[in-house]
Symmetry: C2
Amino acid sequence: MAGKREQNREQNRLALIEAVLDSVAEKGISETSVSEIIQRAGLSRGMIHLHFGGKDNLVQAAGHHSSQEYYDGLEDLLAQAGDSPQERIEMIVRGDLGERVLNQRNVSIWYAFRGEARNRSAIAAFSDTRDARLRNMVLSAFTRIARDMNMTDAEAARDATHGLLALLEGMWTDYLLHPDRFDRDEAMRITFRFLAAMFPSYFTLKGAVVQPQT
Amino acid sequence: MAGKREQNREQNRLALIEAVLDSVAEKGISETSVSEIIQRAGLSRGMIHLHFGGKDNLVQAAGHHSSQEYYDGLEDLLAQAGDSPQERIEMIVRGDLGERVLNQRNVSIWYAFRGEARNRSAIAAFSDTRDARLRNMVLSAFTRIARDMNMTDAEAARDATHGLLALLEGMWTDYLLHPDRFDRDEAMRITFRFLAAMFPSYFTLKGAVVQPQT
DNA sequence: TAATCAAATGGACAATCGTCCATTTATACC
DNA sequence: GGTATAAATGGACGATTGTCCATTTGATTA
């Protein structure tokens, strides 16, 4: 067991990160100052330099932390998914549009970092949600479906992957700009409509067809 | 003709706005200070207060200006489009993904403002690209197609509108995060694949079918 | 040309920024 | 319980922020 010293230390480190994320979500990056952060964390001014060596490093760590939480949530869900490609894709869609990851706090944080991504390469690195891992999971599922359908179009699976991820991105933007009128069920329906149009015997308006018609 | 005085005045006003946009595109919002702006514009410190009453108002005006340019570009293109709904939709897609509006500078600016939108209502107001005007243009086109197809699904046109705009949003995000590997033709192909899947006799992989098969 | 006045200048100003370190606090070890 | 030491404190510091206004510039009008 970790000593109380180290335990407190880690706890304070985390408190600083959470304070940054709270502030970014509520006030935006430009208003997230050192004073704002330490006030929210209830800690002293010097802690940022002590734990992270400076404000920039702390903000970067907070971004990384938030990104990690997104993937953790998604992978938890995926662990529950079945083996069929359509089930896996459905899980990703439901996960990406579900309350656990798509909520006001996360969206605010996400787009705040995105806005700075272009100019801070360290931020850009983790800001790419749909990173290689997620992209490959979706791609392999679509590839299996395309093969199963005897599709001749070699680009179909790749395009479907790219398209689905872009569509989900767009839904997030919609939530960002209209959190009040955003309709989670509608977003899911639209996404499945897109999938059902491209792969009719694998998806329906309500989700995946668990037993594909062969 | 306007006097040289007023002419200079307007010219300086514009120079300030362009300086803000250049700085936001290159360095981001957080590094766009008064000093940065006036240096780029080659004007004196007091000009911001004189013309806009303060930095915040100037930044807001710059955002509004950028947004206006986006719509102007899109409407120019739309004026050249034919009357058929599929032609109008194709024009919107080609416009939104074309070089004139989708380029590094615009994407940087766009997302920089988006990142602050949640916390600055004035910015949120113009930050919503796909505003009512654009949305209605797309919706009316899809409604005509749905009627033409005798679609029974009342939500189909609305969902297609929402989905297409979300998909285009996602393509912009892709460009933001991977400007080097982004492929404009691929983005168009994917978009038309989505349209072709939902409305097979109106769109193909390469774009709209001008004469719909009835 | 001289007078007029809007436009533009650039520095003074207080406020706030992030950094850093001398000091204090509290845990861990002897 | 006393000592060692890592963790935490909070204020000093120079740099930079945005605002504002007394002054200068230069186009316009008499």
